[in-house]
């Protein structure tokens, strides 16, 4: 199943400038693995050995995956994933 993933500005160097990309998988973790195949380098920006890095927020629809099942969160057709950065700047 293909899911749309919204990419924040700081990671668009890895997606050829695209603000939305597709990736396939039945869970958030699978989608990130597929993203890594399509856009190498993106996984380490998002995950460390404990899971989602502390300052990265991954949403399915309006909900942070930390409040769902984390990387095991199951996806259904039409779900949209958003990677939301911490704030930067003065």
């Amino acid at each position: 199943m293909e899911t749309i993933v919204r990419i924040p500005t700081p990671l668009r160097t890895l997606t050829g400038g695209a603000d939305e990309v597709s990736a396939s998988g039945n869970t958030v973790g699978d989608v990130i693995e597929d993203l890594e195949r399509r856009h190498p380098g993106i996984r380490e920006r998002l995950l460390d050995d404990k899971g989602v890095r502390r300052f990265v927020n991954i949403y399915v629809g309006e909900e942070d995956v930390r409040f769902l099942d984390g990387l095991k969160t199951a996806l259904k057709a039409g779900d949209q994933i958003s990677i939301v950065p911490a704030i930067a700047g003065g």
Binding site: T9, R53, D64, R66, S82, I87, A88, G89, G90
Partner: protein, 311 residues
């Protein structure tokens, strides 16, 4: 001892204390490491200095009048400062910030009567800058747009304030100065002044190690809109710091020094200790000052996604 008696809250800006870091720096006994506590400003952050200076300079030359509204993009601390001084000086304030700024920050600025406009959280601070520019372009006569990223009053506040205070307190002992790059005002202003000092001072800028980071207030310049006030030839050196190292040092400062500081301050002190370790190894001794930009409680209030998550 003499208590300070001030006519207005604007007079409480600056003259912040320097505190020696004894515990986190105990492994570098020949190097003094000092934290300049900018959270002691009335708005709780280093941003009080540039915000006040930009307002006062614009009032002085007529760019700002009480008939205008001050508008700018800010991820927080500058907005708190504008709001506070706007209230104190009778100037309306409108702020553009990404909607994922913490609730505490939104509540603080609104408590001063400030009007808040939200920009796309996916676009970060650069998105907020673009929205602010669009609003001003539609009604330029209605607004004063200080544009902290382009306004020379930003760095001059540090040239005439922060740097002089550091020299006054430490004089010729000072060997290194450390500050983060956000608008770059602190680094530009302090470095320019410290370079005029008779003794050489190494000025080190901190930037997030990665484009996607959690050091709020700092900019990864290679992937951001570069602030027009930034001159890359000014810092002697740029040190990248990871989000994890900044956050962990902020935790240590709270537990070991009683200084509960924000993440960018953690990154500054982390880098200051790296520099102190180099100086210790080199057998030269030294005296390092790091800017502590704000307090950690500004980042406490849970955002939506933090409800059940322990940072």
């Amino acid at each position: 001892m003499r208590a300070r008696r001030l006519e207005s809250v604007v007079d409480a800006v600056g003259n912040t204390p320097l505190v020696r870091l004894g515990r986190v720096a105990k492994h570098v006994p020949d190097v003094e490491v000092w934290a300049k506590l900018e959270f002691a400003n009335p708005g709780g952050s280093v941003k009080d200095r540039p915000a006040l200076r930009m307002i006062l300079d614009a009032l002085a030359d007529g760019r700002l009048t009480r008939a205008k509204t001050l508008i700018d993009s800010t991820s927080g601390n500058t907005g708190v400062a504008y709001s506070l001084f706007g209230a104190a000086l009778g100037i309306g304030v409108r702020l553009v910030m990404p909607s994922n700024v913490s609730k505490a920050r939104k509540d603080i600025v609104r408590s001063f009567g400030t009007d808040v406009v939200f920009s796309d959280p996916m676009e970060g601070s650069d998105g907020a800058i673009r929205v602010a520019r669009e609003i001003v372009e539609k009604e330029p006569e209605r607004y004063f747009y200080p544009d902290q990223y382009s306004n020379p009053s930003n760095w001059r506040a540090h040239y005439d304030g922060t740097a002089l205070e550091i020299l006054d307190a430490l004089g010729d002992r000072l060997t290194h100065f450390v500050a983060g790059l956000g608008t770059t005002g602190t680094m530009m202003g302090c470095t320019r002044r410290l370079k005029e000092h008779a003794r050489p001072v190494q000025c080190v800028a901190i930037e997030p190690a990665e484009a996607l980071h959690g050091l709020e207030g700092l900019k990864h310049l290679a992937t951001s809109l570069v602030p027009p006030i930034y001159d890359p030839t000014v810092p002697d050196r740029i040190l990248p710091v990871s989000t994890e190292n900044g956050w962990d040092m902020a935790d240590r400062l709270a537990r070991e020094e009683g200084l509960h500081v924000g993440h960018s301050s953690g990154a500054n002190v982390f880098a200051a200790l790296q520099i102190a370790e180099e100086a210790q190894r080199g057998g030269r001794g030294g005296c390092v000052v790091a800017i502590v930009c704000d307090r950690g409680d500004r980042y406490f209030a849970p955002m939506k996604w933090e409800r059940r998550y322990v940072w």
